[in-house]
Symmetry: C2
């Protein structure tokens, strides 16, 4: 690759500063599920604006509240800086399309290159079969989904079987390889995308299909990922009255945890426009 | 108890609506660690304002970004309603003292009494010895802490020993009983308080002491707790460059999960006023 090579993800999350904390960009249909751009992809775009506004590279913690579905096309991001600190700075972002706020983000950013203090890790990366033995997500999907074209997403065979056929009362876990189909490496901004790229772990097992809109997604980035594919583990342990919680861990090729995620989503939720959407996978 | 009896928690989280989405209250020193009211207690106060503004009783997901330490005394909470939906409504709260914003909250509220859809739970409540065998948190603390006077917080003996002496590379977990010292039962608003009431699970084990300010705390309330004491499990699996993640689960006396929590905190962080604070326990 020449130095001028820009990945599709970089291109599709590019933003420009229009002044006064307002950023402009364009959401791409390439990262959509049906007509709606993936919520993690949209968070990635917002993270670029937040990082630029705060002049800090790493999203230590970002929460998004998804108020209305986004769509491919121009997007405006309005930043309000809330705090500038020695190690952590915090800002809010309103993501606006067609004059309507679609997502509200709040993020605490830092620079891990200047981090000092203890490191501790008592967890291990997920055990996943070799890439060749794993099942492409696209093969499990009943219909083509744009975002699958952009990603390497290969499920451990046990995980894939479990997802399709597993017993509903068992632990619902997906273990998968994740990366970009164009061969580019994951950066810190891509971690929210990867954290939200798969359907919920229990999606098929309960025999339902339907739209599973994200209500709230929080991603904690721990480190800049080493080059190479990521490994991820997604688990749903709790569903309450149709409200689903999904926990994710993303690990890099150097066996280091690079991000944690948690989201609250509505199973079979309705879109704001009242339309019942097809399954997201 | 007579019907007129009001618990200390209810009294100390009471708010009044001053009109236009502005609420007023008073933070109490009774729930402080040193001079700073507990972050979960402050979230409880904000949740009451958010619930009142949205006219929905249950905080499905609330995130707080702690920008500056709060203090005992008057507090003003300004609410911005972001979305009103069929099942979920979302609002933001600015918590202000002395003209300065101290904490920013965003919350998605719901009414579980009207929830429909599947329930699933694959996790189990923590195994904890009987209350009499457990160790009061106050006995483990090197100095009196106001909030300990208000709470029943008794650690499983294995958990307490582990916390004091455990090996730093082992999993860092605290299992504890939690409740109110005045005998009142936990309600949904108290769950953020309980989720943040203990020092981090690895606090003593790494031999450090110092202020561990919360950067961001997210609490997902699942259910209204049944009467009786709560049981909780707190785990820290990851610390990166002094940034600590703590996961919590709160279970009720009917063996049901009532809340999940996750927080990002800085080990040995400095207060905004530059003062290095004593240990929070």
């Amino acid at each position: 690759m020449s130095p001028a090579w820009i990945s599709q993800f970089e291109r599709d999350t590019g933003i420009t500063h229009a002044g006064n904390g307002v950023f402009q960009g364009e959401l791409s249909a390439a990262w959509a599920i049906g007509a709606v751009p993936n919520g993690g992809y949209v968070m990635a775009v917002a993270c670029r604006a937040l990082a630029a506004a705060l002049d800090l590279p790493h999203p230590g913690s970002v929460t998004g509240h998804y108020l209305a579905p986004t769509e491919a096309g121009p997007v405006r991001i309005e930043i309000e800086t809330m705090r500038r600190g020695r190690r952590i700075s915090t800002a809010m972002a309103r993501l606006i399309q067609g004059g309507q706020e679609r997502v509200r983000f709040v993020g605490a950013f830092t620079d891990y290159a200047h981090s000092t203090g203890i490191d501790l890790n008592t967890a291990s990366p997920p055990e996943i079969s070799g890439l060749d033995q794993c099942v492409p997500m696209a093969e499990l999907s009943p219909r083509p989904v744009a975002i699958h074209e952009q990603l390497i997403a290969r499920l451990d065979p046990a995980s894939a079987t479990h997802w399709l056929q597993g017993h509903p009362q068992a632990d619902t876990q997906l273990r998968t390889w994740l990366g970009f189909a164009d061969g580019s490496d994951a950066d810190v901004f891509s971690l929210p995308l990867f954290a939200d790229a798969l359907p919920p772990p229990l999606f098929r097992r309960l025999g339902f299909s339907g739209w599973v809109p994200t209500v709230e997604l929080t991603v904690h980035v721990h480190r800049v990922p080493a080059p190479g594919l990521l490994r991820a583990r997604f688990v749903t342990r709790h569903v309450t009255g149709g409200l689903l919680h999904e926990d994710g861990e993303l690990w890099d090729s150097a066996d280091r945890l690079v991000a944690l995620s948690r989201q609250l989503a509505i199973i079979g939720g309705r879109r704001r426009d009242g339309e019942q959407r097809p399954a997201p996978e």
